[in-house]
């Protein structure tokens, strides 16, 4: 059953036109001309209850705008939008009971007070019964390992601890959908991993639908079954994560190898040489399904392996993935816009 349904959704922002040139400032001040920018440009999708969807895109792709329209904060310019059968901005308060929202960059906890005080207030705002409240708080303290800090003021928590508390808060009223806007932003590797594992677990155990925005593909790989990629307000890809990897031929890795002395030309059967600066060489290793460890084996097998000073391995950036998705999907004419 679809819990979110949007069709040809558009959001335009109107800003004053800015002029440049010698009198640009005065012209900008007096002008009544406007520039319309489309943050969301005719996107359609539907999400079933219990699904976990990652909404991926570079900065300025219209991810937050989408979350704001789904939560009823913003009114769309055009198109249809329904959450749990209702139009969010018209039935904002009813929708609020059905959804939980986590903003990665802004806290909904009371900064100076212990975490439990924010939970307690949340209980009163949402009229949660004592028994439900107590059992859920207990459950989330255990699940999110919050025992050591629920009685500490929020201002003393680390970012990772705070994010766990934010997520628990958003789940206290047992919502049907959990929206997360950049939940792992600024977290270290371990904290990121913990949050991802927890979200996956919550999604599977409580059947709450999860929709999260991110520009970190790893978030989606570890939490979500389905991925929607957006760029310039348009949907570039909508499908399951494995499907995406197949379509774009896997997530390639970029490997930079630095040698003590120039070893001359080195070629790998499963990699392309991108840049050769003598002692420093950069390759793109092509991903093949089922051969995840071929990269290390290839590197270890070169004759000058003892001359290696440093190796760095990077995932493809989101821009490269989008570019690849565009090119490959266009070729296969499976692009859904």
């Amino acid at each position: 059953m679809a819990i979110i349904q949007i069709n040809q959704l558009v959001k335009e922002y109107r800003t004053n036109k800015r002029f440049t040139g010698p009198f640009g400032l005065i012209k900008s001040l007096l002008s009544t001309e406007y520039v319309n920018t489309r943050a969301v440009d005719g996107i359609s999708f539907s999400i079933d209850s219990g699904e976990s969807v990652g909404y991926l895109g570079p900065n300025g792709a219209g991810k937050s705008t989408m979350i704001k329209m789904l939560t009823g904060i913003l009114v769309p310019t055009a198109g249809d939008i329904q959450v749990d059968g209702k139009i969010p901005y018209r039935h904002r308060k009813e929708i609020a009971r059905k959804i939980g929202v986590v903003f990665g960059q802004r806290s909904q906890l009371w900064w100076d007070l212990p975490v439990v005080d924010s939970f307690e207030l949340h209980k009163h705002i949402y009229n949660i019964s004592d028994s439900d409240y107590n059992s859920r708080v207990q459950q989330y303290i255990e699940l999110l390992d919050m025992g050591s800090f629920v009685n500490k003021p929020v201002r003393q928590l680390s970012l990772g601890q705070r994010m766990r508390a934010e997520i628990a808060l958003a789940l206290l009223h047992n919502p049907e959908i959990l929206f997360l806007d950049e939940p792992t932003i600024g977290l270290d590797v371990i904290a990121k991993h913990n949050i991802r594992t927890f979200l996956r677990q919550v999604n599977q155990e409580t059947n709450v639908a999860i929709m999260l925005t991110t520009h970190d593909l790893k978030d989606i790989e570890e939490i979500c079954d389905r991925i929607i990629i957006v760029n310039h307000g348009k949907s570039v890809f909508d499908g399951d994560v494995h499907h995406l990897k197949r379509e774009i031929g896997g997530i390639n890795k970029q490997v930079t190898i630095e040698f003590h002395i120039d070893p001359g030309e080195i070629a790998f059967p499963n990699a392309l040489l991108i840049r050769d600066e003598g002692v420093r060489k950069k390759y793109e290793f092509i991903h093949h399904e089922g051969e995840e460890n071929s990269l290390m084996r290839s590197i270890m097998s070169i004759p000058n392996v003892d001359q290696i000073k440093d190796i760095s391995i990077e995932d493809m950036s989101i821009e490269e993935i989008i570019h690849k998705a565009f090119v490959n999907l266009n070729q296969n004419s499976k692009i859904r816009v």
């Binding site: 959001k11 922002y13 109107r14 943050a39 705008t65 704001k68 939560t71 009823g72 904060i73 913003l74 009114v75 901005y89 904002r92 308060k93 009813e94 609020a96 009971r97 959804i99 929202v101 903003f103 802004r106 909904q108 009371w110 100076d112 007070l113 005080d117 207030l121 009163h124 705002i125 949402y126 003021p153």
Partner: protein, 260 residues
Amino acid sequence: MSVKLFFHFLKIIMRTRMEYRADFLLGMVGQILGYAANYLIVWLLLNRFTLIEGWAWPEMAFLISVNVLTYAIGASFTYSPMLSLEQLIIKGDLDKYLIKPINPFTYLIASFFNFGYIAHILISVVLLIWSLRNLDVHWGVFESIYFMFTLLSGSMLQAGGLILIGSWSLYFMKSQFMGDLYFKIKDVINYPISAYTAVIQIVLTWIMPLAFINYFPALYLLDKADNIALLLVPVIGPLFLLLTIFIWHRGIHQYQGAGS
């Protein structure tokens, strides 16, 4: 929002305030000194001239005290939320107030309730009682009820003025200068408005109805005028408050349409 929930917010805010006890107490001392200076200026003036537009010192003290007291009551509710609104919008924090199953207006009022006006209330009530003891007012049941209602109405007018500043930021993002302007203007009613030119009197009565906070009630209570219309003074506050809340809600719709 239920009264019970509102009190729960107050409890939380009080606990936050108590995290910074010294700051809270110092703030109170500062306010008392600040307002004492306000009274002092008028007292010094009257020491020299004895009357301003036919108003003697105890009458002036009554006028100022009603202004400060109603401001303190009104501002406890609306000062912090409405003057924080500009920053909430610019930083995008207003979104947090739009995703809860309660009205965003009452949610803001409740989460920004300001206990800091206790000092204002203290000094104005002391001066009010002193002035009333030195004034020859006949306190019947009707006068007492009338006075209670004018205080309530005045607080609503003060609260409403601040709501308009908040609404301004919903329409135009920036409201800092409106706030500054308001604080320049709000003390003009420390003097009887008959002391000003006709234009200002009209403005203070019909455009920014600040004269209904203390001047008109004082005319009636201190027997300075005998106009039956003065009995209608207590209805101005509730009407003005409703109007400003309506404007604020129009503003929030505008915000939701335009986005940040």
